[in-house]
């Protein structure tokens, strides 16, 4: 077991080595002269960054530089759209879209030759003849990284690097200098609210757990991340697993629990593997386990894998699933804090919520609550996706406007299209229309406009997305994922889905709109768990802000965005057509007729057309129109 003194020695030594990643120009060069940081997040690994890393290592070895230049696989940098990303320190050169074939050039030209490879350099990061620090670029400028502080900076598979970033300092501080109540008071004073979607004050949850009677108590980390289109929690676990471990230990001390569970999606293999590795290293160092860090307390963590059921993200269903059953929610109260896992008091928190804790302990509640606004303190991580230029992971202070996120950080919509709406909260949330783009992003403001903060998925939609179709998409999801235990959710949401399907096929009636709203009220009121209670939200909010689109589908039998296939027609613009017959050859069902070089004879036979759209891109003259 390492003593606190030994941990401090590791911290001091590693800090010096890692100072070259600071990009401040001031660093102490040890034997390591350069750092090559490669993104090892799921997105970039899928883009072959693992092979890139091996290639770097092999080439550096060929040049006998393997000791002087370290190659480090870090967590997500955030700017996934430019991935795979490689950053070279101390100069801070930011390379984008780096594939294995590019490694040779970077090694020869840059690492050996001292010249930047201009072709691969991020244009914005290079300014007036110097490298702009990453955090001054447009994408990072408005961000503030607390949960993601170490993501993209440290090697998540090396506990020493976490320790160097003041890791495993917060837990000893709690145990040596604070009482469990004192820790809870700090968390309460920070006003930290749960990041898993509900926004429940974390300090209060811990307080109830601490006060509840029980010979055994549990800490559970919710890493089920079910929102389809969100990957905040995964990135934190992949990039900085120790921060979650340390905060579970702190929660254990505060609530009087000696055992913790992390329930994580099996679809996240890299996160699972890094978490297991981190747990192993923490145990080896004596940080986790009996008499952790020699401070007289015990805490250990087990990992349980989810098995692909969205409802298991709901806290009571999750606990039921850990117990080894079908993950069905149960009636609350009793709350988990009183009667949770195996009937014992349980504090269940989301990954991102937990990732804030060590920082709050180290920097104080005042520091934390000075970020954001009262009642909505701190930052929130969002997975920015959809029709946006800079897809990726962003962390912003609460109260940042949607405009800043979309226009400044996100770089606006792709291909210069017009921003139509953003969707937050996934299948439980709602949309924010373009006219409300100046809404500050925090729990209260989003709820006020009929959306919600959610767990952090932020999907951008442009003029080509149909809102009826989006509502249908989410309902399809919840119908599929409803556990079926209670009727309003099982049947009610299915009815909503059927009505939406009818509308999208041009078979809707005007009274459908009111019927959906009424049905939604019942479902929200009578469902047992959060899944059912929030499932109608996407329907209600799209009707609220895009009623005219619903009316267009119902009355005019038209889909203004051109998405709902049943309402589409492909026709030929005879002015543009030159009669080349390419479209005829592409059509799988012979639905286009026409004679070679006689544009006036060209026609789509609507009865035959299956609206597959194969003809549209085939035409080089843009003569196929979708109306």
């Amino acid at each position: 077991m390492k003593t606190l003194q030994q941990l401090q020695e590791i911290r001091d030594k590693e800090k010096i080595r890692m100072s070259i990643r600071e990009n401040t120009g001031e660093c102490v060069l040890t034997t390591v002269k350069k750092s090559v940081l490669i993104c090892g997040g799921t997105g970039c690994v899928s883009g072959s960054s693992k092979i890139t890393r091996d290639e770097f290592k092999a080439r550096l070895k060929d040049h006998n530089l393997e000791n002087e230049i370290e190659v480090i696989f870090v967590g997500c940098f955030g700017l996934c759209a430019k991935g795979p990303i490689v950053i070279i320190y101390p100069e801070g050169t930011f390379y984008e879209h780096v594939f294995p074939k590019d490694v040779g050039e970077i090694v020869d030209t840059h690492l050996v030759g001292g010249q930047v490879v201009k072709r691969l350099e991020n244009k914005e990061a290079y300014d007036d003849g110097r490298n702009k620090p990453l955090f001054e670029t447009q994408f990072y400028k408005a961000q503030q990284r607390i949960c993601l502080k170490n993501c993209g900076h440290i090697d998540p598979e090396n506990i020493d690097e976490y320790i160097a970033m003041d890791g495993y300092l917060a837990y000893p501080k709690c145990v040596k200098e604070m009482t469990p109540e004192g820790v809870i008071d700090v968390i309460k004073a920070s006003n930290l609210r749960g990041r898993g979607g509900g926004g429940f004050p974390t300090g209060r949850k811990w307080e109830v757990t601490a006060k509840a009677k029980g010979d055994q108590k549990y800490i559970v980390c919710n890493a089920d991340e079910g929102d389809p289109g969100a990957f905040m929690d995964r990135s934190i676990l992949e990039g900085d697993p120790h921060s979650v471990i340390e905060s579970m230990m702190i929660a254990g001390y505060a609530c009087g629990a000696t055992m913790g569970y992390v329930y994580i999606r099996a679809e996240y293999p890299i996160a699972v593997q890094r978490l297991l590795m981190a747990l192993h290293q923490a145990r080896e160092y004596g940080i986790l386990g009996k008499n952790a860090m020699g401070l007289g307390h015990e805490f250990d963590i087990e990992v349980r894998l989810g098995a692909g059921a969205f409802v298991c993200g709901e806290s009571s269903a999750l606990v039921t699933s850990i117990e080894g059953h079908r993950g069905e929610p149960r009636q609350k109260p009793p709350n988990l804090a009183v009667e949770g896992l195996w009937g014992k008091p349980t504090a269940l928190n989301n990954v991102e919520t937990l990732a804030n804790i060590p920082q709050i302990i180290l920097n104080g509640a005042d520091w934390y609550s000075s970020i954001g606004s009262p009642g909505n303190t701190g930052t929130k991580v969002f997975a920015l996706g959809g029709k946006i230029v800079n897809t990726g992971l962003v962390e912003i202070p609460m109260g940042t406007t949607l405009r800043t996120v979309i226009e400044d950080i996100g770089g606006g919509c792709m291909n210069g299209k017009k921003f139509k709406a953003a969707q937050t909260g996934g299948p439980s949330g709602g949309c924010i229309p373009a006219e409300l783009i100046d809404t500050p992003i925090d729990f209260d403001s989003l709820t006020e406009i009929g959306s919600m903060m959610g767990s952090g998925g932020l999907i951008v939609m442009d003029e080509d997305n149909c809102m009826v179709d989006i509502a249908k998409f989410f309902l399809d999801f919840t119908v599929e994922e409803s556990c079926g235990k209670c009727t309003p959710c099982r049947i009610g949401n299915k009815r909503l889905f059927e009505i939406l399907t009818r509308i999208s096929e041009g078979k809707g009636e005007m009274k459908d709109i009111d019927e959906m709203l009424e049905l939604s009220e019942y479902i929200k009121r009578d469902s047992l768990c959060g899944l059912g209670k929030t499932a109608p939200n996407p329907v209600i909010s799209t009707i609220q802000y895009f009623k005219d689109e619903f009316i267009a589908h119902i009355k005019d039998k038209k889909c203004p965005a051109g998405v709902c296939t049943a309402l589409l027609q492909y026709i030929i613009d005879k002015e543009k057509c030159i009669g080349c017959t390419l479209c005829i050859r592409k059509c799988p069902v012979d639905a286009i007729k026409g004679e070679l070089k006689k544009p006036e004879t060209f026609e789509v036979i609507q009865e035959k057309c299956i609206k597959c759209g194969a003809c549209e891109p085939a035409c080089k003259f843009k003569a196929i129109l979708k109306v």
Binding site: G43, C80, P228, G229, E267, R304, L305, A307, W342
Partner: protein, 159 residues
């Protein structure tokens, strides 16, 4: 369908897993996950063996196997083709990729082809939204693609 037979190694692995898990609280799901790792799916014979060893009724095992989408009770195809239908992929046209995969393989999402070559699945967000829309074949991810790219990709998985 031919009867299920496992190899000696597979059987030994499963036996070891089950005897380890006898003492773990809430071990049923873990056992099923490990068993699926060993066999690729959970045929009735294996469900029975798990039920017997861990002293659970078979209905309970079957109930769990059908509740969670990760468990497969039928043998999957040689190539598992997944089309991400997460929100980020969907708004970028994932349905067109799905349609094309279905055309090429001749089966619908959720099905396995008769020749045992393909299983097509509409999956949830796999966390590569920056590459949206995308498909996966086994562990490989193909991102930022359109329907015509799907034809090109599937050329490599024909036998």
């Amino acid at each position: 369908m031919s009867a299920f037979v496992d190899t000696v190694e597979q059987k030994e692995q499963l036996d070891a897993v089950l005897s380890d898990l006898k003492v773990v609280k809430g071990s049923l799901m873990i056992a099923m996950q490990k068993a699926q790792e060993i066999y690729g799916y959970l045929p009735k014979e294996i469900q029975e063996r798990i039920a017997e060893n861990l002293s659970f009724p078979l209905e309970k095992v079957y109930g769990i196997a059908t509740f969670y989408s990760q468990f497969h009770i039928h043998k999957p195809g040689k190539y598992k083709v997944g089309i991400c239908m997460g929100t980020a992929c969907y708004v970028r046209g994932a349905d067109l990729l799905l349609k094309r995969v279905e055309e090429i393989t001749g089966i619908l999402a959720g099905q396995t082809s008769e020749n045992g070559l393909y299983t097509v699945e509409a999956t949830r967000c796999i966390g590569c939204c920056g590459l949206a829309p995308l498909i996966t074949v086994g562990e490989e991810v193909f991102g930022n693609i359109n329907a015509d790219d799907v034809n090109r990709i599937m050329e490599n998985y024909k036998e």
